[in-house]
């Protein structure tokens, strides 16, 4: 076993990992050798396979061989005992390598930045510098692999962007020249766009996330909510708005968060809507033209007329939802126009005669 040379665990320049096998024990001739863990093909050999052992006969070592585990050995063959199996595969690979004699095919004159003093084809590095260099090379290779892999993806993204541009231009053309394309085709085209997730609805992809998205969304809401708000007396609970908006959208639904954030921007965007939060935490969207004092004064009139009212009765009277009716009564109470009567019969509101 004096053909072996010490080497570090990494691959040399012209070495490629053929096969790695664990649990292999080296026998120098027939004597067990204790230091081996992983073995790699390194020596010239020809061998015969025995049960769970491979014997590799070695040629005599070249004269200028570097120091190895054994300086001298009386055997000219080594045995590999496979404790954890894998010998068949190992043998096959070994034979492949033998026949191909790949190591003789690799060109010796590779562009290596080493001085002529070193052995041809190898940058035998020593110590830490060598290890570092190996690490660096490995890292570079990994980088290259990754960028190669993702090249395709970035190409795909470019194409997708072009597609989006194209469909946007078509969509705008549809809007301009209504007469040229028939209604059906327009609708169909729009539905295609919708199914791809682009065009009409203001989506996160087209406008990005964050405030810009919310601003656009706020504008859209401003348009959409005018009519429903007027039907409902100028005020709608945020939950109602959520249901209405998402039902209308069909796809690309809004999350509650997005809705709230968009509504918060009504005022800053000078839209005619307002998001209002009551003391109890209820949030409503109301028209800017909606005047709360008027509402409260009329609420007071209603209550005085009837003597006293519960939230349910008030809601029925005005055609509001019970939640909003209660909020209005509570607001009137807060302003001192009404007082409450809390009993087993329920909560009633009276004009504040105190």
């Amino acid at each position: 076993m004096d053909r072996f040379m010490w080497t570090n665990g990494l691959l040399e320049m012209n070495e490629t990992l053929v096969i790695q096998q664990r649990g292999v024990r080296l026998y120098d001739g027939d004597e067990k050798v204790t230091f081996c863990g992983v073995f790699r093909q390194h020596a010239k050999s020809s061998g015969i396979g025995k049960s769970a052992k491979i014997v590799i006969h070695l040629h005599p070592a070249p004269a200028n061989k570097e120091p190895g585990p054994f300086q001298q050995s009386k055997f000219s063959y080594i045995k590999l005992s496979f404790k954890e199996h894998g010998q068949i595969e190992f043998y096959r690979r070994l034979m492949e390598e033998m026949t191909q004699k790949r190591w003789e095919n690799t060109p010796v004159s590779q562009p290596i930045s080493t001085t002529a003093g070193l052995k041809a084809g190898r940058t035998r590095a020593v110590g830490i510098v060598g290890i570092e260099r190996k690490l660096e090379e490995k890292r570079k290779e990994t980088d290259k692999n990754i960028s190669e892999a993702f090249e395709d993806l970035s190409k795909l993204m470019e194409k997708a962007k072009e597609m989006v541009e194209l469909s946007k231009s078509i969509a705008s053309k549809i809007k301009d020249k209504q007469g040229d394309i028939t209604e059906d085709e327009t609708i169909r085209f729009k539905s295609y766009l919708l199914s791809m997730g682009i065009a009409d609805p203001v989506t996160r992809e087209t406008h990005g996330s964050g405030t810009h998205y919310h601003m656009q969304l706020a504008r859209q809401l401003g348009d959409m909510l005018q009519a429903p708000l007027e039907e409902r007396g100028g005020m709608m609970a945020l939950t109602e708005v959520y249901c209405l908006v998402n039902r209308a959208r069909g796809m690309e639904l809004l999350s509650p968060e997005d809705l709230v954030n968009a509504c918060k921007m009504f005022e800053s965007l000078k839209l005619p809507l307002r998001l209002r939060v009551f003391d109890s935490g209820v949030m409503v969207v109301q028209l800017q033209s909606h005047n709360e004092e008027e509402m409260i004064a009329s609420a007071l009139d209603n209550v005085s007329e009837k003597g006293s009212l519960t939230a349910e009765e008030f809601a029925k009277l005005l055609g509001l939802s019970v939640l909003l009716a209660k909020e209005r009564l509570l607001l009137a109470e807060k302003m001192g126009h009404l007082c409450r009567d809390d009993s087993v019969e329920g909560l009633r509101f009276y004009p504040n005669l105190f």
């Binding site: 001192g336 007082c339 009567d341 809390d342 009993s343 009633r348 009276y350 504040n352 005669l353 105190f354």
Partner: protein, 174 residues
């Protein structure tokens, strides 16, 4: 003479403690005066909290409303702050209602004493509160503890002095 209930008594919200601060203040003020005038009418000087819940003051059967225990406590606290109420025990189960403050009583007593020219004479406490002569006076029937306090108030003004007699206490007016 039957007691005249104020308009609030028949107003259901009167029996619910109002959340609105301003409204509540007005409500409590109305309650305080109601309690005091009722006690004055019935000549009640001490009140037991548990008993008083069923009293008509806090319980209007006609409109089926009654003031909750918490609210009663709030009203009593308000009275205490004004000086019209004093707790007799730490657990706040009994209290003294002073619908007239001791100083006011003292003044009344002294007026009667000087009106009848009885200054410089000595009275027993019993004479003052339960004597024939005082039957028509408002302080007739005044409970001892209250009488004592009013006399002590007069004492502070230098108009009377409480003295110990053989069978009790007495007072000399100056």
């Amino acid at each position: 003479m039957s007691f005249e209930w104020p308009w609030q008594y028949n107003f259901p919200p009167f029996f619910t403690l109002q959340p609105n601060v301003d409204t509540r203040q007005k409500q409590l003020a109305a309650w305080c005066s109601l309690v005091l005038s009722y006690c004055r009418h019935r000549k009640l000087y001490t009140v037991d909290v548990l008993e008083v819940q069923e009293s008509p003051v806090f319980n209007n059967k006609k409109i089926e409303r009654k003031l909750s225990v918490e609210a009663i406590q709030v009203v009593f606290e308000e009275l205490r702050k004004k000086g019209n109420l004093e707790w007799m025990d730490k657990n706040k189960t009994r209290c003294l209602i002073m619908w007239r403050r001791p100083e006011e009583w003292g003044k009344l007593i002294y007026q009667w004493v000087s009106k009848n020219g009885m200054v410089n004479s000595v009275f027993t406490l019993y004479e003052l509160s339960n004597g024939e002569d005082t039957e028509n006076e408002e302080f007739h029937g005044l409970e001892d503890w209250m009488l004592l306090r009013s006399l002590q108030a007069l004492h502070a003004e230098g108009k009377a002095e409480v003295i110990t007699l053989d069978d009790g206490k007495g007072v000399k007016f100056f």
